[in-house]
């Protein structure tokens, strides 16, 4: 059966991520990589530390991506990428984009020093943090990217995560890198555009991608894209760009800001929360949103 009109495709058809990979059903990290590679194309090398993607790609001697990967030590994504970039230039290749592709643990926590070092030197690497808000690969332990209120295996319900999510974007802005942006797997065209933009910038670039994890969040696999959309609509994870730590651009000016309750209801990791605890979370979201709006106005 063939229809008269063509399929509407808002992204290029070419795939650089393949089937047969080991991602869970409904994996946000998988979607992040798929869209990112569509934007970067084949002249890309990935440095991947310990994280879900160290496993998703598949075991030796197989790989599901068609770009080269260097699996590196946990805290060394940015430092390995820095070395790769220097090496490639010395062997005559200044066209290949060098990407560090790390989870939130390898970025916010153990990898933060190397990332800060690379950013301070303005090394010419594109650092992507796909954020599923915990150490998922090792079985859902809390990281500093885990939001306040979440259950994880190291923040059980009676001692749920009691600190707010670390503001990694403020940390990167403090380094005054030429380009950084947030993105969500539920807005693939926006992610694609930002990845392409980052590709064309020289110096340290940072992308923070929201990547829902049904396994770790105890949510339904089919809700992954919905969650990535809700998180923008309720302003928990706004989409914005920062240039040189000063120029803020808000990509989606949310007009009808939704309360966070519906978002929390879809995830088992928040099931235990009481109304007053949810209120604390809502107030934090409101404060962060107000702060961001001010920064964007002043830019």
């Amino acid at each position: 059966m063939k229809k008269e009109k063509k399929m509407t495709l808002t992204l290029p058809v070419e795939e650089y991520a393949g089937s047969g990979n080991l991602a869970c059903q409904g994996c946000g990290a998988m979607l992040a990589m798929r869209y990112f590679l569509k934007a970067l194309g084949p002249r890309t090398v990935l440095c991947i530390p310990a994280c879900c993607w160290a496993v998703i790609d598949g075991p030796f001697p197989h790989s599901s991506l068609s770009v080269p990967i260097y699996h590196c030590a946990f805290e060394a994504a940015a430092s390995t990428a820095t070395g790769v970039k220097a090496g490639l230039e010395m062997v005559g290749d200044d066209k290949t984009t060098v990407v560090a592709w790390a989870g939130d643990g390898g970025t916010f926590d153990i990898g933060l020093q190397a990332l800060s070092g690379a950013a301070e030197r303005n090394d010419d690497i594109l650092y992507v943090c796909y954020d599923n808000e915990a150490y998922m690969n090792t079985g859902i332990q809390r990281s500093s990217a885990t939001p306040y209120g979440a259950w994880t295996t190291t923040t059980p319900v009676k001692f749920f995560k009691n600190q707010p999510k670390k503001d990694i974007n403020a940390i990167m802005a403090a380094h005054r890198i030429p380009y950084q942006a947030t993105a969500s797997i539920s807005y693939p065209e926006d992610l694609f555009k930002k990845a392409k933009k980052a590709k064309g910038v020289k110096g340290t670039r940072f992308l923070h991608i929201y990547a829902p994890c049904p396994t770790g969040w105890k949510s339904r696999p089919e809700d992954a894209v919905k969650l990535g959309r809700m998180v923008i609509q309720n302003c928990i994870f706004p989409l914005y760009e920062i240039e040189y730590g000063e120029k803020y651009t808000l990509n989606i000016k949310v007009k009808d800001k939704k309360p966070i309750n519906d978002y929390l209801k879809l995830q088992g990791r928040f099931r235990h929360l009481k109304p007053d605890e949810i209120q604390i979370m809502q107030e934090e979201v409101d404060r962060n949103w107000a702060r961001l709006l001010k920064k964007c106005e002043g830019s």
Binding site: P42, R43, T44, V45, C47, A54, V55, D57, G58, P59, F60, P61, H62, S63, L65, S66, V67, P68, I69, Y70, H71, C72, A73, E75, A76, A78, S79, T80, A81, T82, G83, V84, K85, A86, G87, L88, E89, M90, V91, D93, T96, Q113, A114, S116, G117, E120, R121, D123
Partner: protein
């Protein structure tokens, strides 16, 4: 040109007075290292300072990455090496320890990174003086280890290390004593660049990280595969001693100096042989000369290559002795001196009757003098077998 020396074959070399640290820098420069990532630590700083200058004034065409820790230094070297660039770094003690995880990464990843390590005591308490525990703590990581006793040896060893490392895809470290060698000035023949290029061609690995030939490196490796990959590393390590001797002769033809696996000083007819390493190995010669002067047939076996352990040559030389006295500037707590352990294991089944006396001296930079060796020999001569696994020299008990 002042200081120029003409050698066989017509190449010119330059004699320069330099410190041990700078001999490392010259070695890396002549080897045309392409990416250097390093973090400062006493007493290594001069290595990287000179390399930094060489990069800045284009004496060396390399990228110098001023990383923010030693862990990042080794990570960056690993990243550069997998793209096919020749890499070099230098560190010491705490810095080497911080790199520990990544030393495994370089060897398991089969990357020929060459590193200078200045033997410095491990803290606490803070010590900047020399002993060998830092590098010997890394003896299981799959890196080759070369222990030097002169600045000339340092420079020559760096160049040869690159050659052997790249031939077998195994990283190596060139080790020198803190201050006793790193900061001691000696005259060094600086080889001619063209001849070094003849000896050490550009690095051309069969596989590298490039979109032109995409692979995923170091992925999840199950019990089905890991064992064989590590078996291959060991098998290649076993080829190293022969390759060191072969490339050493090549180097000798070009530059007139042969390094080899050990420095055999008067061991041929020796009844008591000292086993030493590092600068203490040269101090031992002074004692040997004195002992020979008073009629004792003493000899000194200075170990230049520790990893891979050169079993054959050690067995061949020590088998002839009546007694062996190993002087370790290190200790494996709960066991005894590390060279002593390894010498004993080399002699097991080969010359089990020869008593091996294990001495420990000079930890934390405590001076080892010719008198220390006379004390060692004195004890060894007056005892049939050692009273203890560790015989302490110079400790105020």
């Amino acid at each position: 040109m002042p200081g120029e020396v003409h050698r066989h074959g017509g190449g010119t070399e330059m004699k320069k007075v330099m410190m041990g640290n700078h001999a490392l820098s010259y070695g890396a420069m002549l080897s045309r290292a392409q990416v250097i990532a390093a973090y400062p630590i006493t007493p290594q700083t001069q290595v990287v300072e000179l390399l930094s200058e060489m990069c800045a004034d284009k004496t060396l065409n390399a990228k110098f990455i001023k990383v923010e820790s030693e862990h990042s230094a080794m990570a960056a070297c690993i990243g550069a090496s997998i793209t096919g660039a020749r890499t070099f770094t230098a560190t010491s003690a705490q810095g080497l320890a911080l790199m520990h995880e990544l030393l495994h990464w370089a060897s398991g990843g089969r990357l020929p990174v060459v590193m200078g390590n200045i033997n410095r005591s491990m803290a606490p308490g803070w010590s900047i003086w020399t002993d060998q525990n830092d590098s010997l703590s890394e003896r299981d990581t799959g890196w080759m280890q070369f222990y030097c006793a002169s600045n000339q040896e340092v420079l020559d060893t760096v160049i040869q290390a690159f050659k052997v490392s790249e031939a077998l895809a195994i990283p190596s470290m060139v080790v020198l004593d803190a201050f006793a060698l790193s900061h001691t000035y000696e005259v060094v023949d600086v080889p001619d660049q063209a001849k070094v290029d003849e000896y050490l061609p550009p690095f051309k690995p069969p596989y590298r990280l490039t979109p032109d030939d995409p692979h995923a490196f170091n992925g999840l490796t199950s019990p089905e595969h890991y064992f064989e990959l590590r078996y291959k590393l060991q098998k290649d390590m076993e080829k190293v001693p022969a390759l060191i001797e072969e490339t050493g002769r090549e180097y000798e033809k070009l530059f007139g100096r042969y390094l080899g696996l050990v420095d055999d000083y008067l061991c041929d007819d020796a009844e008591i042989i000292l086993v030493t390493s590092g600068t203490a190995g040269y101090t031992a010669r002074v004692a040997v000369d004195e002992l020979r002067g008073s009629g004792l047939k003493a000899g000194n076996l200075r170990m230049k290559v520790f990893r891979p352990f050169p079993f054959e040559v050690v067995q061949r030389i020590l088998k002839r002795a009546k007694k062996v006295a190993v002087v370790d500037r290190n200790i494996s707590y709960g066991h005894h001196g590390i060279f002593a352990q390894e010498v004993k294991s080399a002699l097991y089944g080969q010359a089990g009757d020869i008593p091996v006396f294990g001495f420990i001296a000079g930890l934390g930079g405590r001076d080892i003098t010719p008198a220390s060796f006379l004390e060692v020999v004195d004890y060894t001569l007056s005892h049939d077998t050692p009273e203890d696994n560790i015989l302490w020299i110079g400790v105020k008990k």
